[in-house]
């Protein structure tokens, strides 16, 4: 029942908002994974990012897509928590517990083992609008565990302008998603986690050159 509700809302509410109200240009759609386990890693500037990434998937693939978000943010209130878990299908990460010995990625690993496609923002936070922060190593740790799962880099442009951090006002501007070729842990020759994340970040930065020029300051 919840699964059905989630699909209806994502297809008939979230997708029209992304495509008809905000407007999306997609470059490299053929690189998008159609089955899990897989990871979609994107830069993060806005809550709109999740909406944009979810709108890229076909209705058939969508039920398998799980965005990963911060528990301290999305589980703040009961309503928000319910919506995040059941409508967005979010896997919460308790980032505050980092370093306590607890495996923060346990839920992500389970989902990957079940063949889900995870949507992860490796910056770990939205940061300043239209600027990229350093990457955390979560994606690399998941890739190490699932060395054959494709990690698909995505550069999102414009979401930070539609709804920057700290703003509650949604102002539509066209956004562009540039999807790059998948990277696999095995192809990297079992490299070290920081190198993997550095490569991922460089790749996403390179993808940004494929987006149209944006003049906003």
């Amino acid at each position: 029942m919840k699964q059905l509700l989630r699909q209806i809302i994502q297809i008939f509410l979230a997708r029209p908002v992304a495509r008809l109200l905000i407007g999306m240009d997609v470059i490299g759609r053929e690189h998008l994974p159609t089955k899990g386990p897989a990871i979609v890693a994107a830069n993060h500037n806005s809550h709109i990012d999740t909406l944009i990434l979810l709108s890229l998937f076909s209705s058939r693939v969508l039920p398998n897509v799980r965005p990963v978000g911060a528990a301290d943010h999305f589980l703040r209130t009961r309503t928000l928590s319910w919506i995040s878990r059941n409508i967005i299908g979010m896997i919460p990460i308790h980032r505050k517990n980092a370093g306590s010995g607890e495996d923060l990625l346990a839920d992500c690993k389970t989902a990957m083992a079940e063949g889900k496609i995870l949507v992860i923002f490796p910056e770990g936070t939205r940061g300043e609008a239209e600027e990229m922060e350093d990457f955390k190593t979560g994606v690399a740790r998941l890739a190490e565990q699932f060395p054959d799962a494709p990690v698909v880099p995505v550069y999102i442009q414009g979401a930070g302008r539609v709804m920057p951090r700290g703003s509650k006002l949604l102002v539509p501007f066209n956004c562009t998603a540039v999807i790059g070729e998948p990277i696999k842990w095995t192809d990297q020759g079992g490299s070290e986690k920081y190198t993997f994340m550095k490569n991922l970040k460089t790749t996403i930065e390179e993808l940004s050159e494929g987006a149209p020029p944006m003049q906003w300051d």
Partner: protein
């Protein structure tokens, strides 16, 4: 099927023929889109998505024309919104302007609201006068002064071409049927859009075949004098020949509009090209596969629509 036959017969004859001709063009274009890539691979590959997009655009247009002014106004409200959003996505704006941009989007609704309630004066004044004042005031209140003039000018430019100029197309649909017994208000609108697109295409064809002397190499390198003049003459003749079937224009006014409208279309085209050069893009978005963005398709109509409207108003229509 009786109701269908009756319904089709209720469509004015010129429109029946016009829609039929459009259908024939789409079918032959689609046949070419299948045949040509087989004869010469790579050269005609973009024809297929281009034709598919034409089917969608013509389908939306004909559907809205048949459903009446309400559906047509809704369609053009959305088209104006898409065009304005595309423009403001590419044009430089500042962080502080997000609120004014949202205000501009809302003014699309207000401008088309004037069409909905059939208030011509309100339509003429709201965007060029009052939204002009209000948006400038809102920007002044953001307290950021660097780039004020540039950004408020950019916003005004977008509102005029995307909302005010395009709005004229929708307002034509409110022409009383008694004034246009030939093909109704839908005939007037169909004729405008058909002539504008025909003009684009015939300029392109003439340019492809006879083009030698470039008009403005640094704005639009494909535009040639041969293409432009050939297109103007062909479109002008088509306009004068077909005007009696779609408009209440008499002969000499139709010659005047036939001679000037294609030139306006050309100017709309190169103006948008200049803007795209300025912003450093080739297409304004990828909204329409094979064509580019909404602005790429609407550029000529943004200039022909108000001219056609006001010339009709001056020479033939009592309502405006």
């Amino acid at each position: 099927m009786n109701w269908l036959t009756e319904y089709l017969q209720s469509i004015p004859a010129p429109l029946q023929i016009g829609f039929g001709a459009l259908f024939a063009l789409l079918v032959s274009g689609s046949v070419l889109a299948v045949v040509l890539p087989r004869i010469k691979p790579n050269k005609w590959d973009d024809l297929k998505p281009r034709m598919q997009s034409w089917w969608v655009m013509c389908g939306l247009l004909v559907g809205a024309l048949l459903l009446g002014w309400q559906a047509f106004t809704i369609l053009f409200t959305y088209i104006s919104y898409i065009a304005l959003k595309e423009y403001l996505t590419l044009a430089p704006t500042r962080r502080e302007d997000r609120g004014v941009v949202l205000f501009a989007y809302l003014m699309v609704l207000v401008s088309y609201g004037a069409i909905w309630i059939d208030n011509y004066m309100f339509f003429l004044l709201v965007i060029p006068v009052y939204v002009f004042i209000a948006s400038a005031v809102m920007m002044a209140l953001t307290k950021r002064t660097d780039g004020f003039l540039a950004t408020s000018g950019i916003l005004q430019w977008g509102l005029i071409v995307c909302v005010f100029n395009l709005g004229h197309v929708a307002f034509l649909m409110r022409t009383p049927a008694a004034e246009v017994p030939m093909a109704g208000a839908a005939g007037l609108v169909f004729f405008l859009i058909f002539v504008t697109q025909f003009n684009d295409m015939s300029q392109y064809m003439w340019g492809k075949i006879f083009g030698r002397h470039k008009i403005s190499p640094n704005i639009s390198p494909n535009k040639t004098w041969e293409g432009a003049l050939g297109g103007f003459v062909t479109t002008g003749i088509l306009f004068v020949v077909l005007a009696p079937y779609f408009t209440p224009l008499t002969f000499w006014p139709s010659v005047w509009i036939g001679a000037t409208l294609p030139v306006l279309g050309f100017f709309g085209d190169i103006t948008m090209s200049a803007i795209k050069r300025d912003l450093g893009v080739k297409d304004t978005s990828q909204l329409i596969p094979g064509h580019g963005g909404a602005l790429d398709r609407l550029d000529s109509l943004m200039f022909t629509a108000p001219w056609y409207f006001h010339m009709l108003a001056y020479f033939a229509l009592e309502r405006f």
